[in-house]
């Protein structure tokens, strides 16, 4: 849902009970903020409809409700796109949303009706949902149709959490290589999605966003792609930049730009380094950002002591091996938050600062800050300066967290802090 919510001229139908869109306000806020940043005057809400599966639907199926919802979506909003999301409930009761959407498509030829298989029990991580989204886009919009190539056009895939400031920085960097970004899917449109096959290359801002899709685009359309890292910090920004430059055949140009950028920012990074040198850091974040943050802190001479990240695969191992080369001794916790593991670790490691989801470390009195910021810059050469200063400011006044820790207590029993933090990990996830 989050991946598509800002698409122009769309209606989103959640084929689910009423709670599955309980987070509507997040979507509404994100969409509105994004519009405001992009200078849109009459700011709109996303159009979100819930079929409201109830007890009757659980017994007799929800087909009727879905048909009614699509009917309402079309008569009310006449959208170009109508996305239908599966849910745990619709999946278990066996509603065939593909077939239902297929039938409805004949009835409403002017609206593209696209089912998306994102049943919650299928995966514990939202990245799987992004994959499902791109599978649907490929199957229902691109449909293997050949389109005319557009010179210099690069698909730039970005997850929802990327701010407009970061979008502009990525677009600026690509334009220095003579490329034009087709920014997908945030604040894009059916037209822009249809242009995906016209691109000469693809890249992504996040390691786990559109990674499979870019491979599909290579297989189906022969579009080469660069899959590297999230461009946060000098090393990752360079790596990301060189990755896409190589695909575009601009290896020489990119080196010139990189050395120019380094020259520009190095004195500024140095002043940040003076404030942060030697500080010990614990990081908790999404897959892309947590690894990126771990590389970023090296720019400032900081030392990694712990890294909590939700997923692990061969790709993550590449990052871990890189980090092994720059940070001497750190714990890796593969966990989707699991605050009880985290507070046990943070309490043991006693870092000087914590980067990432801050709620629990703050209650231990550790200064905390974010590298995820949907409203401000975090990426590219300028983004890292912003982040560095933010981290330093936070460290210099840890007052809020210290006071908080003095007055509140985390809800875990004292005995827990003496246990092995990984005690409850069972073999094979039993």
């Amino acid at each position: 849902m989050a991946a598509l919510m800002s698409l122009e001229d769309s209606v989103f139908i959640s084929h689910s009970p009423q709670g599955c869109v309980g987070c509507a306000i997040m979507a509404v806020d994100m969409y509105r903020v994004g519009q405001a940043h992009r200078g849109i005057k009459n700011i709109k809400n996303p159009r979100l409809i819930v079929t409201n599966l109830d007890q009757k639907s659980v017994v007799f199926g929800g087909e009727k409700k879905l048909k009614e919802a699509v009917n309402k979506a079309v008569t009310r909003y006449n959208p170009k796109l109508c996305f239908v999301y599966a849910s745990c409930a619709s999946g278990i009761i066996g509603d065939d949303i593909d077939a239902i959407c297929g039938e409805l498509q004949k009835e409403y030829p002017d609206t593209l009706i696209i089912p998306i298989h994102c049943e919650g029990f299928k995966s514990k991580i939202c990245a799987s949902g992004f994959d499902a989204t791109f599978i649907a886009i490929n199957k229902y919009i691109l449909k293997n149709e050949k389109v005319e190539k557009e010179e210099g056009l690069v698909n730039l895939f970005a997850p929802t959490t990327v701010s407009y400031a970061d979008q502009k920085e990525m677009e600026r960097m690509l334009s220095l290589l003579g490329a034009k970004a087709n920014y997908i899917p945030f604040y894009s449109s059916l037209e822009k999605i249809k242009k995906i096959p016209a691109a000469v290359a693809s890249t992504s801002i996040c390691k786990v966003f559109a990674d499979e899709f870019m491979n599909t685009l290579w297989e189906d359309y022969g579009i080469p792609y660069s899959h590297t890292v999230m461009p946060i910090g000098i090393r990752n920004t360079d790596k990301w930049y060189r990755g896409i430059a190589k695909v575009l055949g601009k290896e020489k140009e990119v080196e010139e730009i990189i050395s120019r950028e380094h020259e520009r920012i190095e004195p500024l990074v140095k002043s940040i380094r003076n404030r942060l040198q030697g500080k010990r850091v614990f990081i908790c974040g999404g897959t892309g950002r947590s690894f990126a943050a771990a590389a970023l802190i090296d720019d400032f001479g900081m030392e990694l002591v712990g890294l909590e990240t939700p997923t692990y695969d061969a790709d993550a191992q590449i990052d871990i091996e890189y980090l092994n080369g720059i940070h001497k001794d750190f714990v890796v916790d593969i966990a989707n938050m699991q605050p009880f593991e985290q507070v046990n670790l943070v309490n043991r490691l006693k870092p000087d600062t914590f980067i990432g989801v801050p709620d629990w470390a703050a209650k231990l009195g550790v200064p905390t800050t974010h590298v995820l910021d949907g409203k401000r810059p975090t990426m590219g050469y300028d983004g890292l300066l912003f982040l560095g200063n933010k981290i330093a400011d936070q460290l210099e006044n840890p007052g809020f967290n210290k006071k908080l820790a003095k007055h509140v207590k985390l809800p875990y029993k004292d005995s827990w802090y003496n246990e092995n933090p990984f005690k409850y990990i069972t073999e094979g996830g039993k």
Binding site: G22, V28, K44, N45, L48, K72, R76, G120, F121, P339
Partner: protein
């Protein structure tokens, strides 16, 4: 139950995890899919002692859908008892276990002898919204935890109001209702918020009566307690906001509790005097037509739609356009609530529409002649439509984005003053 929801105004029954969260040191233990708690948590003051990310969850996967999740549930409860320091563990079920038929009650009963109480409430999303889920949680406490008490505490009154977190002002409101009841010389007892918790839950059955301040939410639980524990209840339908309604409230509660009339009137006089001292200081602003138009619409649950309508009509002298009740009020309560909307001063009647379809609501707002710029008090969705009409918008009902509320309230005399402050803070920033 409502049909499709375009711009939905509530969550599902599992949203009752927030009702549990509002009970100090009560921990929701979720038997649900991996995304449920994420989707059902807001950022409106929910990072307390237990934040939603701390709630233990079975995080059901495809395998559990096929083979059932009872084993996982058992170990999740078992380990939560070992690691998390809580007073009450409330197991809540999502859609999946109730569709595949996990016997959650059976698993929970295996913890009957644990050091801390473990109870459970069926809160599958497809069975109802979080207003219903809230009632399920209170019912679970009544049925599985409370014991009948022959001993009564004189003057002790249990106060119940609307749904924590769904109601942005829940904490401030319930504290204000406590203060009002205490001002009559009674002893209020509530279970939600700071320093209430299990110790107050234990006092519930000692109360002389239950006071329900809500158009309908929680009425079932009151009846249950009347039958099971012989506790009578007073159902006061209107959340009292401002002087007129709060004075009415004090008179009715006082009368029900047998409080001396003189005492009631002296409390009312003292409060009204101060209230009108404040109003008088700003009367020039309220009397100035230029600042605000006369017609308003509330888009909210029954509680605020009714409470705010009465306040704006009876205290501020505004005129109600159509009011929208968006909480999917069960049809058996609707006639009674409609009558309340028609019972306003100077024979004014407000038309109330029970509507969960946001599209229709917005169409009606757009098509109504407010004789100028409308005043709309509603959920965040109404910001768009109000802006398009150049009206004044105040975000008072879920979903909320425009407001940060720590312990502010709209209930009572002081609550009316807060609402006036909020409305006019918006109005004076405008150039129209």
């Amino acid at each position: 139950m409502a049909k499709l929801l375009d711009k939905q105004r509530y969550k599902c029954a599992l949203g009752a995890m927030q009702s549990v969260q509002a009970i100090e040191r009560a921990l929701p233990v979720l038997h649900s899919g991996p995304g449920c708690a994420q989707k059902l948590s807001d950022t409106n003051g929910s990072s307390g002692y237990f934040s939603p990310n701390i709630f233990p969850c079975t995080s059901i996967n495809e395998k559990d859908v096929v083979f059932g999740g009872v084993k996982k549930l058992h170990s999740t409860i078992d380990n939560a008892l070992k690691v998390v320091d809580a007073d009450l563990y409330v197991v809540l079920t999502g859609c999946i276990p109730e569709i595949v038929g996990d016997d959650t009650g059976e698993v929970v009963s295996e913890f009957a002898d644990s050091d801390k109480p473990v109870i459970y409430a069926p809160t599958a999303g497809f069975k109802g919204n979080n207003y219903k889920g809230h009632e399920q949680v209170v019912d679970a406490i009544i049925d599985q935890y409370l014991k009948k008490s022959d001993e009564k505490e004189k003057g002790l009154v249990n106060i119940w109001a609307d749904v924590p977190y769904q109601d942005l002002f829940w904490l401030g409101n319930i504290r204000e209702l406590e203060k009002l009841v205490a001002s009559l010389g009674l002893t209020p007892n509530t279970i939600f918020g700071y320093k209430r918790g299990i110790k107050n839950i234990d006092k519930i059955t000692k109360a002389e009566f239950n006071l329900l301040v809500s158009p309908w939410v929680g009425l079932g639980s009151m009846k249950k307690m009347e039958k099971k524990f012989n506790i009578p209840f007073l159902h006061y339908k209107t959340l009292p906001i401002g002087a007129t309604e709060t004075s009415k409230f004090l008179r009715e509660v006082g009368k029900f509790a047998g409080v001396d009339n003189e005492k009631i009137e002296s409390v009312i006089k003292e409060n009204e005097d101060y209230y009108y001292y404040l109003i008088e200081r700003y009367a020039d602003l309220f009397l100035e037509n230029r600042v605000i138009n006369k017609q308003f619409t509330v888009v909210a649950d029954a509680q605020y739609a009714l409470g705010i309508t009465k306040f704006l009509v009876n205290d501020l002298g505004l005129i109600p356009a159509k009011q929208f009740v968006v909480d999917d009020t069960p049809s058996k309560y609707r006639e009674d609530i409609k009558k309340e909307f028609e019972n306003l001063n100077f024979n004014i009647k407000a038309e109330a529409s029970f509507e969960t379809d946001g599209y229709k609501i917005h169409e009606e707002i757009k098509n109504h002649d407010y004789h100028g710029y409308p005043l709309v008090l509603g959920g965040y969705y109404e910001k768009e439509v109000t802006e398009s009409l150049k009206g004044n918008f105040i975000n008072i009902s879920w979903p909320v984005q425009d407001k940060v509320v720590l312990d502010s309230h709209y209930a009572g005399y002081s609550g009316g003053i807060r609402l006036i402050e909020d409305i006019y803070t918006v109005a004076v920033q405008r150039f129209n």
